[in-house]
């Protein structure tokens, strides 16, 4: 649809606002993989409460929004269990090894002109393009 890019821009600005608030208020980088990963491997337990509260908001708010405004929402995710598990494992291991994901390295890193953030973003986008290309053209699974 033609309006998709407008909603993308509006949603993006809201994401940027959230990241700015987290940075200027709490002095922290809003990276999804870091916030939850720090709870999993104990590296972030000193700020556990802030992380948990952030995640509660992240889970509750979209569902509340869908309920209140009665909109359709569907992830359209694959139902292939093997792909979901494999993809989840790769995303979990990859983001922790790289120390960031689309929000941390992408949004927060690039806007800080961080070489690490830009490098990571180039590599995960190229890998993602290759992954989708192979899946669509060789496997035909999605």
């Amino acid at each position: 649809m033609e309006t998709d890019w407008i909603m993308g821009l509006v949603g993006g600005l809201v994401i940027g606002l959230a990241a700015s608030l987290y940075l200027l208020g709490n002095g922290r980088i809003m990276g999804a993989s870091g916030i939850i990963g720090g709870l999993i491997d104990k590296s972030g337990w000193s700020s556990a409460a802030d992380r948990i509260v952030f995640l509660i908001g992240l889970i509750l708010a979209p569902s509340m929004y869908i309920f209140i405004f009665d909109i359709e929402a569907d992830t359209k995710a694959t139902t292939n269990i093997i792909i979901l598990i494999l993809a989840g494992l790769l995303v979990g291991i990859g983001t922790r090894l790289a120390n960031g994901c689309t929000s941390g390295h992408g949004v927060c890193g690039i806007s800080r002109l961080s070489i690490r953030g830009m490098t990571s973003t180039i590599f995960y986008i190229v890998a993602g393009v290759v992954s989708v290309f192979l899946l669509r053209n060789l496997w035909g699974a999605i």
Binding site: I15, L23, G92, L97, V107
Partner: protein, 142 residues
């Protein structure tokens, strides 16, 4: 107050992801489908999110966060093996399922079993990462 900031930031992040269409895996995979039916939305989301963040980073210069002592220091490590390897693994998983950590968590409330299975696998991956990291450095040292 730190908790409130974290909750509001998490909530805004989730709503931004929903509005922008990033919880829709077909839009994410469509953006990565460079050689197919390319969907430009994700570029607008990333661009939109970077505008407030770019200003926020400028604003941090010579200031302190409101509810913390310091702004996050730049990661001093150079682009290293873990950053590249992790980003590639993450990118492959991102392409396979069309989900990255933020949208995956944000869709837990409405994404059904697919979101739950993906997030669970991602958490397992994050949990395994410290030992994987240890093994990579050991195998290279010997």
């Amino acid at each position: 107050m730190k908790r409130l900031v974290a909750f509001v930031a998490g909530s805004l992040f989730g709503i931004g992801l929903l509005l922008s269409g990033m919880t829709d895996t077909s839009k994410v995979q469509g953006w990565l489908d460079l050689f197919g039916n390319w969907d430009p939305t994700l570029a607008f989301v990333m661009g939109g999110a970077m505008i407030p963040m770019f200003i926020a980073w400028k604003f941090t210069e010579g200031r302190k966060p409101i509810y913390a002592e310091n702004f996050p220091a730049r990661n001093q490590s150079k682009v290293d093996r873990d950053l590249i390897l992790g980003s590639v693994l993450f990118g492959v998983g991102w392409g396979l399922a069309g989900l990255c950590p933020g949208p995956a968590i944000a869709s837990l409330g409405f994404g059904g079993a697919q979101s739950a299975l993906f997030v669970l696998s991602m958490l397992v991956g994050m949990w395994l990462t410290p030992s994987i990291r240890f093994r990579i450095s050991n195998s290279l040292a010997t």
